[in-house]
Amino acid sequence: MRGPGLRESFQKKLLGSFLAVGLLPLVVCAGLILGIFQSVLFRNARDSAQTQLDSLAGRFDGLMSSCGGILEELGREELVIRAMRGEHRSGTQVYNTLYSAASAYLRDADFSLYNAGGELLYATSNTVPRSLSVNWGVLFAAGERPGETVYQGSEGCMRLARAVPGGEGAVGFVTAELREEHFRRLFQGSYGAGSDVLVLDPYWDQVYASPTLQDDTLAPRLRGRLLEGGSFAEVGTQNTYHVFRNAASGFAVILRQPKPLADWVMQLFYLVAGLSILLCAGVSIRAAMSFSRQLFEPIRTLNSAMAAVEEGDLDVRVEVTGTDEISQLSGRFNRMTQRLRENLAWSIRQQQELGDAQIRMMQAQLNPHFLYNTLDTLKWLGKINGSQEISTISADLADILRRSISAEEFVELREELAVLERYVEIQTIRFPGKFEFEIRADEGLLDALVPKLMLQPLVENAIIHGFEDGSHGRISVEVVPRGETMCLTVRDNGCGMSPESMERFLRREGPQAGGGHLGLYNVDAILRLHYGADSGLRFMPRGGDRGTCIQITLPVIRREGGEDT
């Protein structure tokens, strides 16, 4: 069925157009707005993060270099060196030196002096360890690198240490220690609420995390990402990470900033955009469906009506509801089926009439047999009774009758001439001595096909009209080949056709009432029908002689299987 296919493609096209018109602008707008919105927000956030990070970095750098400077200064103090050697016993003097050197940074770090064995001598705070191993950790590192400040992180605190040289090896160590409270004070106010700060040692182990950062695993995860060389974005999608590395210590300060738009907000945006698109798509589909239904329903009705007509049901009618194009089409369809119906009725009638004629013809065919038999009986009666003429006429008439009612339209010239002879024989008995008859036919043309009973009416015309005046005449029939055609000529020396009749004939006005020359008209009509409008009878001038000369030119056609020239 073509119905569903038609509907489908039609609907698809409609749907495509509706979707394109409905969705494209929406999608483009939504994409653009979301993209611009996001990129502006993210750029702002990045700028703000950079500002915060710069502030954090500035403070950290400043403190590191200040502490380094204080340690270096303390390490040069003669009093400190002597105290480390145990030569100086006055604690207050050493403390004074220590506090005055560290005066500006007493709240930013704890400064301590350790002897060569790692025992605590003096400190600005009570919380620093009483002793530190010199074979391990920061003092070991400081001892390995005299004249340098070394930085190490351990268990939530950052230590700066510097070996104080004196004689062989170090006489002691000056250290600065930054613990959680120091870092908190250092970074206070330099990063926004919601952001967090991490301080990592050179190998990215956590030293400090701002109090709001509750995630112990963050530092290890960041370290893992760094070692993999991957983006920090995968550590946590809610935040962005900004890293600053202090060159002197190798420590890293990491600012964790929440994304300006939490993922759920973005998801909400996407969801809303997606839902709008879906809604729009739904409306488009709905509109396309209803529109196509509206448009398609009449077409479908028409289509099925046409299918019904195709199946032969001509009584189908389409209801015409409006004045639009489809309705006009429906109206035309209705008229068309009506015409078809009428045509059909007419041809049925024709067919019936034809059938009737055939029946009549078949009934009529009964008669010839009866006629033959009767004529045959007559022939024999004639013979028995010694009336040769009755016998001849009966035999001739039977022969003519047989040939004239045969179904064939064309017969061989030989047969046509035989019929003609039979006819003439009858007429000779009717009008004894009235005319002479002669046939001259080219032997090679005897098997050519000619229309049946074509010559007989011409001869009849000559006998009946040519010798009306009672004169003795002569009729000749001549068949000669002329190129690829043959020429049949019927000539008489009777009184000829009256000029009026001739004119009438030439104008093809049909025979006069009363039936004069009816045979000529018929032959002319048959020839024209068979061979074309130019192939009728031709009247040839007889010159000085009286009478009529009628000529017919026919193509030489032989029976199938014969030569067709």
Binding site: V28, Q38, F42, P202, Y203, G229, A233, V243, R245
Partner: protein, 341 residues
């Protein structure tokens, strides 16, 4: 019209996606990523309190970034065996010598510079691994429930007096439980399987985790127990009510070790790590901070602890232990009733 607008639309989408697509590491951070020659991957079955300070100090001293992969000894060794073609790890740090011996084929022998200072008997033949610390097996008792004189040695574990009151880690589950069982079998006279049967019957149920022994004894649900000296000393340091008895018959001190993995991606750094863990600095830490016994002769154990001679330390029969293991576990299951249908 559609054909022009569709690509444009796709471009817009791509732009929108780019805005939130994950990017590679910030270029500014790439300079912070350590190069391959400054990296080391350590597989360790130690607890973080053990490997943490060592790794930290190693990093500080060498500038090498250490990635630590933690897990159970057998789990890690199986991983190493599975990745034999392309090892991820450089060093296996931790694991008893029994386990290490079983996987010796996956290690590259390395002789540390201080190998001659190792205590006799701890250095493996051919140096497939380097011993890290020695872990004597000791008996513990609840100081409230048991008099110190009541517990003297391995023989007491077969005494029906303690039936059902012994905390012992199931050898089928715990490596240290099996070590303790083999140590006991080595010290007591008699037919091996008879001893196992007698012990299993007297035990009347083993603990699933070696970590539970101390808590079971100090909590009083068991009266005496078998555990490692390290675990016992840590328990005491944390104030648990337990006392340590060194068995009169003597005991074993099975070392754990570290090994260089064959085909390690960073072999030089791995060797540096092996050198470091058996250096005197780390060995001193093993004694002072981890309550373990050093493997070096030149690092003294804690003064308050009995010396190895006093403990009667004998060489742990590694080969016998591994040969026996399968049958032992089958029979153990029978004797403890777990194997019964």
């Amino acid at each position: 019209m559609k054909k022009i607008r569709l690509p444009a639309l796709l471009c817009l989408f791509a732009l929108a996606l780019c805005a939130c697509a994950p990017s590679a590491l910030d270029p500014a951070l790439i300079t912070l990523v350590p190069p391959e020659e400054k990296r080391l991957v350590v597989c360790t079955s130690h607890k973080e309190e053990v490997y943490g300070p060592i790794v930290k100090e190693f990093q500080a001293r060498t500038g090498i970034w250490v990635e630590v992969i933690t897990g159970g000894t057998n789990e890690l060794l199986e991983q190493i065996a599975a990745r034999e073609e392309a090892p991820e790890c450089d060093v296996m740090f931790g694991g008893g010598v029994e386990s290490l011996a079983a996987y010796a084929g996956y290690f590259e022998p390395y002789t540390c510079s201080g190998a001659e200072f190792l205590k006799p008997g701890l250095r493996p033949e051919g140096d497939p691994w380097t011993p890290f610390s020695a872990l004597p097996v000791v008996l513990i008792y609840n100081t409230k429930l048991v008099d110190e004189a009541e517990l003297t040695g391995w023989e007491d574990l077969l005494d029906s007096r303690w039936k059902g009151r012994i905390a012992f880690a199931d050898p089928a589950v715990s490596g240290s439980g099996y070590t303790a069982a083999i140590t006991m079998l080595s010290c007591l006279p008699g037919e091996t399987w008879e001893l196992v049967r007698a012990f299993a019957e007297n035990l009347d149920g083993a603990l699933g985790d070696s970590g539970d022994v101390v808590s079971a004894v100090s909590g009083g649900s068991k009266s005496i127990g078998v555990t490692l000296e390290e675990t016992a000393l840590k328990g005491i340091a944390q104030g648990e009510d337990i006392g340590v008895v060194y068995p009169a018959e003597g005991t074993s001190a099975v070392p754990d070790g570290s090994a260089l993995i064959l085909g390690a991606p960073h072999p030089d750094n791995a060797r540096a790590f092996l050198e470091f863990v058996q250096s005197t600095d780390v060995q001193a830490l093993v004694v002072s901070d981890f309550a373990r016994r050093s493997v070096r002769q030149d690092v003294a154990d804690r003064e308050e602890l009995p010396t190895e001679e006093e403990m009667g330390i004998f060489d742990y029969p590694v080969d016998w232990a591994s040969a026996l293991k399968e049958e032992f576990l089958t029979r153990w299951a029978d004797y403890t009733g777990e194997g019964a249908p």
